[in-house]
């Protein structure tokens, strides 16, 4: 019987091709086609969507062949064509606007390829979680196919993929209140927290990150605002993702220590002595779960919004090799 694997899929835009390459090995080597829970952020949400509905070949096709204009287009196209994306930032600031890029094409690409009713129907076999951040409350806000219908899930998928400033925030109405939501990677690049909070039993967690777990030196000189922005986003991804992983490891270590102490005969009250009441529910009845992280050794040589088929295929090959090593 194949293991019950919980999947955690990071953000990274076009770098999601690395995740797809890694998933080839996960599917084949572990003999797993169905995942009881998938927690995704940004591009990880889109990947998780197609995995949850068993549309694997479409997923690989998209991350092999999609182009930037199928995902985003500058809000001020001619300004961008004449003066570059830096000028769009200026135009948006002067003329008004919430983002540099328009995501109408992403919405159309999702509509053309994803059966959102199948996403809803994937539960209870697969709990799919889109991680977003609520701009009004500032909180990490998960949207799961257990809790919402296809219309809200579609908006949540778009929100989860909407990198703030680059892409428009997405308004979503829940219980009569409308808030703006953006990419969950703002707060959690490697969204392990939502998986731990899901109460879905798994034997193992596989977390796939499109960023290395520590910052790497790059040889480039940064003298353009867009390059500096891209490098800054890369570094933030590394920092946030590494913190997400370390937090999960610490949580696991605490649970393991409690399991060991319990096995050694300590009573429940003794185990929880001195632990604040507010913390107790987060560890009550929980068990430690092994986590395997698949991540690139270096920063991937592909910008998040550079959906270039040749670049994505190269990155996909790196993901496959990284997973072969990690799961050897």
């Amino acid at each position: 019987m194949p293991p019950r694997i919980g999947l955690v899929l990071s953000g990274g835009g076009a770098k999601g091709a690395f995740t797809v390459g890694a998933l080839k090995v996960v599917r084949q080597k572990l003999g797993v086609d169905t995942f009881p829970v998938i927690s995704g952020t940004s591009t990880g949400s889109l990947i998780g969507t197609l995995l949850a509905i068993d549309d694997w070949s479409t997923l690989v096709d998209i991350y092999s062949n999609v182009q930037t204009q199928n995902i985003v287009n500058p809000h001020h196209a001619l300004v961008a064509a004449i003066a570059g994306p830096e000028a769009v930032l200026f135009a948006a600031a002067v003329l008004g606007g919430r983002a540099i890029y328009d995501t109408t094409a992403l919405r159309a690409t999702i509509a053309a390829n994803v059966d959102m009713q199948a996403v809803v129907d994937a539960f209870p076999e697969t709990l799919l979680i889109y991680n977003t951040v609520d701009l009004q409350t500032g909180r990490s806000t998960p949207f799961a196919n257990r809790d919402f219908g296809k219309k809200v899930l579609l908006e949540a998928l778009l929100a989860s993929a909407s990198m703030p400033v680059l892409m428009d925030p997405v308004p979503i109405t829940v219980d009569g209140t409308t808030h703006q939501y953006v990419d969950g990677g703002v707060r959690e690049f490697l969204p392990l927290g939502a998986l731990f909070a899901s109460d879905i039993e798994v034997d193992q967690i596989i977390a796939i990150s499109t960023a290395p777990l520590e910052a790497r030196r790059t040889p480039a000189d940064y003298d353009k605002i867009t390059d500096i922005l891209a490098r800054t986003v890369d570094l933030l991804d590394v920092e946030v993702g590494a913190n997400d992983y370390q937090g999960a490891q610490l949580y696991n270590a605490i649970l393991k220590m409690l399991e060991n102490a319990k096995a050694a005969g300590l009573s429940r009250s003794a185990l929880l002595q001195g632990i604040p009441d507010a913390v107790k529910p987060t560890i009550k009845d929980k068990v430690s779960i092994p986590i395997t992280v698949i991540a690139p050794k270096d920063h991937l040589d592909l910008d998040s919004l550079d959906f270039d088929p040749a670049g994505m295929r190269a990155v996909m090959a790196l993901g496959l090799e990284a997973a072969k090593t990690a799961l050897a």
Binding site: K24, V25, R27, Q28, K29, G31, D33, I53, D54, D55, W56, S57, T58, V60, D61, I62, N65, V66, Q67, Q69, N70, I71, N73, P74, H76, A77, L78, V79, I82, A91, L95, D102, T104, A105, A108, T109, A111, A112, N113, D115, A118, R313, A317, L320, A323, K324
Partner: protein, 138 residues
């Protein structure tokens, strides 16, 4: 005409250019995936071979297999021939059944309404293409 007046004459033109620059843009083009049954088998074949074999070590075995299935007509032919290549059967006698065919049939876009016997040629073609992809590292 003074320089100032000459400059003012260009203002409406500049505004027009700016408006055009702000407003222009081609309509968004969605990407539409067109994977069919052959592509699904090809995808799962290539993934299985790339994930569980080594191209430099096992490439020759796959070339042999590809030659031997030149006249194959069905999944049964493919599986029988697989078992004749030692380097391949070492990964499992039912490797193709489990790693390729079962995964392909389970996919969302698999044409489940078509009679199974009409799909046999699809499996053969897809495996051929999967071998090609594996050998070129695609």
């Amino acid at each position: 005409m003074s320089d100032r007046r000459r400059l003012h004459a260009f203002v409406p033109l500049a505004q027009l250019v700016l408006l055009a620059a702000v407003g222009c843009g081609s309509p968004p083009q969605p990407f539409v995936s067109d994977v069919d049954a052959v592509a699904i088998v090809e995808r799962n074949s290539a993934d299985a071979f790339m994930s569980l074999f080594d191209r430099s070590r096992d490439g020759e075995a796959f070339r042999t297999f590809d030659t031997r299935i030149a006249t194959a007509r069905s999944r049964a032919d493919l599986i029988t021939t697989w078992r004749t290549v030692p380097a391949l059967v070492a990964k499992g006698a039912d490797f193709l059944g489990q790693q390729v065919f079962a995964k392909s049939i389970a996919e969302h876009r698999w044409p489940k309404d078509r009679a199974p016997e009409t799909m046999e040629s699809v499996f053969v073609e897809g495996v051929h293409l999967g071998i090609r992809d594996f050998l070129v590292g695609r």
